[in-house]
Symmetry: C2
Subunit: 481 residues, 2 copies
């Protein structure tokens, strides 16, 4: 598979300006910015926190993702003349024209972001990103940051759940492009499911842009496009050992087919000739990569005997067939049948699971629900109340610590006010677990990790930001522990 | 609101090459194309059909959308040297190098698309698009066309259901950007929910690109950022009638607040001063557009009295307040309470519903499941069987007619083979309704409409393709009938 293209970062930064221009936000960010500016409050220092209220899919954790794109977005955040002219046309006509000059000069040079690193296992209600800066600017960033984090974290977490269910060895292939929310939804899905633990994607553009290994073989249309063995051309193949004699693969396969039908109890009259032609044609094109879809007609009556016959003919020529693809019906039952009936002969086993629609649309919960809440203005804590106590915010600027036990396992994420002294390893500490009705609990961490880092300071991406490639390698290594 | 930008079409065509490059597809399209090419079958004339098997959301119809983007994609479909080099790196190393020269020269000049028009009400199992052309080319188009049609049609249909539930008069505002599948997912949602019947979007970039009217007022963060009346600046406003005397809006509002508390039975001690400051500051910035969010603290104890006081002060100066925004909790109950308590005074009524997450993620069914199936090669019908009878395809090239009764109402969509004579108005006709177990049924259409049109012929977009703006106007007019 191809190595990641060296200029991925530059490509991504160029493309983020087109994918996430500063107008890609809700209009109320601008009406609020105007009202702040009009009241002379736009430069007041303010702090927002980004978090989600419940772990997705009824699970116990989430993976935080999308930070890399957020940082590129912040770095390129600037309004063009055309943007500003458009805003002038949609804001009320009596808006003060000086406001638009103010917008034209805006950037993120006054913004600081303190964030959990990309790919971190995180929990509900923990502030994952803290965005500090001039009130009008950090308000304007809300929707874009949420848009970049929400789906990325959701689909990454979904992928991680598939990985945990599949175990460390089985290969996982993402193939959801056709059911995603448009082209970029598909690319985002490929990218963040890879971070979440998928090995492969069917999405070629995702391979091209992000260096994710790509995979794929054939659709039913390929199989059904053939109707007879006359369509197989060329009909010969040379052996894998380099012997240049052309062997007639059709005759060789026909010989195996009779024996296979006997062995499997298949009726030769029910074998689909077009399917056999498709398999042969593909095997001749890709003798090293023979992996046909076997359920275009009937797995047991035609697909499986045809596969076995071609596979055995390939084996005779020294090639190693890769396996079969099952696309619909009861996959578990069929895979057991297929394995029982021919796996011994082919020396192989089912090793890749492809997931499409359910992976990219996150069917059981198609949105994460990250929110972005004001917690401080001019050094004073701010709070939102709600009839729904879950939606009441926790005021003030915070620090987040992950506490580890003596075996190095994390057991608690601790929120403190930023001004409070940090917990110390080895010293007992009183904390108030969420949902415990204000009952306190004493814990003694063996190790304390500061969960967030400064990743963006005064317009510059901080040193703590790792390359995406390293993060993916790190994540995938975790699963094999 | 802004008129649609005149160059939307050009912008979209430029951007489609970046958003949907020909590599944005599944790898197996290329492995199949190679196998066809290797067998000398790549130029064989082939026909694919695009359709979905079930109406979404358990409903009775869907709106077909995404055609416009499909046509732009087809027109710009061409591989660059860089694309081809990448494909060479991911296909097996023993692939014939001449194949890559073939790819470099490919375009859609041999492709013909016959399609239902954008925005048509359509039903399950009806072939919506027929894509005909050289086998290898029309195979390569599968994933991209599905990606462009699937979500667009799904979210457009979802929007139409909201419109039908809301009735023709109430305004509908799409505000799902922050929960969409990334930036493009959000733009696609804004665009196709507008086609489906939404009036407004909060997404500014969607307004800029597509001319959709944008709307929005304020978030809770705006309200909670204020803590005292000292932060209101300027504190005065001139009357709407042009009189230039500056009136102290704070004093005026305070006078009204006492009377409002009496009237509503609200305790003056529970009024949030910061919320009142936020409302005043916003009203001074936007006296013609006063529409605050009133549930940052407590609707009945603070938000509603504060709104009424500021609104009445604005009324005294000749301005017309626009309404209130309710963001969470039991919206129905609260809206009734709010209306009961103060609507008479403000001469207004609830007229806009904003929908975010559920609209863009289509929570109850987050994918449509459009498929693209081979039905003919070299003039011969092709068919896929399946253990699931629903997944067995209907072979052969077809024509689709919509039959209307004497009152002009459509009552049946009729599939025929393309070679069969079309049904004639006034003549009885035997048909076999799907799911009727082959029982036939005689119908006599008063009018026959050919549902699909040639929209793309030999690389050129056909004349039948309407401007998006016309389609939207047409769709929205339908709802007011």
């Amino acid at each position: 598979m191809a190595a990641p293209t060296g200029n991925t970062c530059e490509v991504m930064e160029r493309s983020i300006r087109e994918r996430v221009p500063p107008l890609l936000t809700d209009l109320y960010q601008f009406t609020m910015a105007y009202a702040y500016w009009r009241a002379g409050r736009h430069q007041e220092p303010a702090v927002f926190e980004l978090f989600f209220r419940d772990n997705p899919f009824g699970g116990g954790f989430s993976l935080f993702s999308g930070l890399h794109d957020c940082l590129l977005f912040l770095r390129s955040f600037r309004f063009t003349d055309e943007d500003v002219e458009y805003l002038r046309s949609v804001l009320p006509p009596d808006s003060d024209p000086t406001f638009f000059q103010f917008l034209r000069g805006l950037d993120c040079s006054g913004v600081t972001v303190n964030s959990v690193p990309e790919g971190t296992v995180v929990f509900a209600r923990v502030p994952l990103m803290e965005v500090a800066g001039p009130l009008a600017v950090v308000q304007l960033l809300e929707t874009s940051l949420l848009c970049l984090v929400n789906y990325a974290s959701l689909v990454c977490s979904n992928a991680a759940r598939f990985r945990l269910a599949a175990g460390p060895r089985r290969k996982l292939l993402e193939m959801g492009l056709r059911r995603a929310q448009g082209p970029d939804g598909g690319l985002t899905a490929s990218r963040y499911t890879h971070i979440g633990g998928f090995d492969l994607t069917s999405n070629v553009q995702a391979g091209f842009l992000f260096g994710i290994p790509v995979a794929g073989t054939m659709a039913h249309s390929y199989v059904t496009s053939f109707s007879s063995l006359e369509e197989v051309w060329p009909q010969t193949l040379v052996a894998a050992n380099g012997n240049r004699d052309q062997v007639d693969l059709i005759s060789l396969t026909k010989g195996w087919l009779g024996r296979v039908c006997d062995l499997l109890g298949a009726e030769p009259g029910k074998i689909r000739e077009g399917e056999l032609a498709a398999f042969l044609s593909y095997a001749i094109a890709y003798p090293h990569n023979f992996l046909p879809v076997i359920d275009s007609y009937s797995v047991s009556c035609s697909g499986l005997p045809n596969f076995c016959a071609v596979a055995l003919a390939l084996c005779e020529l020294g090639y190693r067939p890769r396996g079969v693809r099952l696309d619909s019906g009861d996959l578990c039952r069929q895979s057991v049948n297929v394995r029982l009936r021919c796996w011994a002969a082919c020396e192989n086993e089912i090793d890749t699971v492809g997931v499409g629609t359910h992976l990219v649309t996150c069917t059981s919960q198609p949105s994460l629900g990250c929110v972005y809440k004001l917690v401080e203005v001019r050094g004073r804590p701010r709070m939102k109340f709600s009839e729904d106590p879950e939606k009441t915010t926790v005021p003030g600027r915070k620090a987040v610590y992950r506490l580890l036990d003596t075996e190095g396992h994390p057991f608690l994420d601790l929120l403190c006010l930023a001004v409070e002294p940090p917990p110390k390893a080895g010293l007992p500490l009183n904390c108030y677990p969420l949902g415990w009705d204000n009952a306190s609990h004493s814990v003694t961490p063996a190790q304390v990790i500061c969960l967030r880092q400064d990743v963006f300071t005064k317009g510059q991406v901080g040193i703590a930001q790792h390359r995406m490639r390293d993060i993916i390698l790190y994540m995938h290594k975790l699963y094999t522990l």
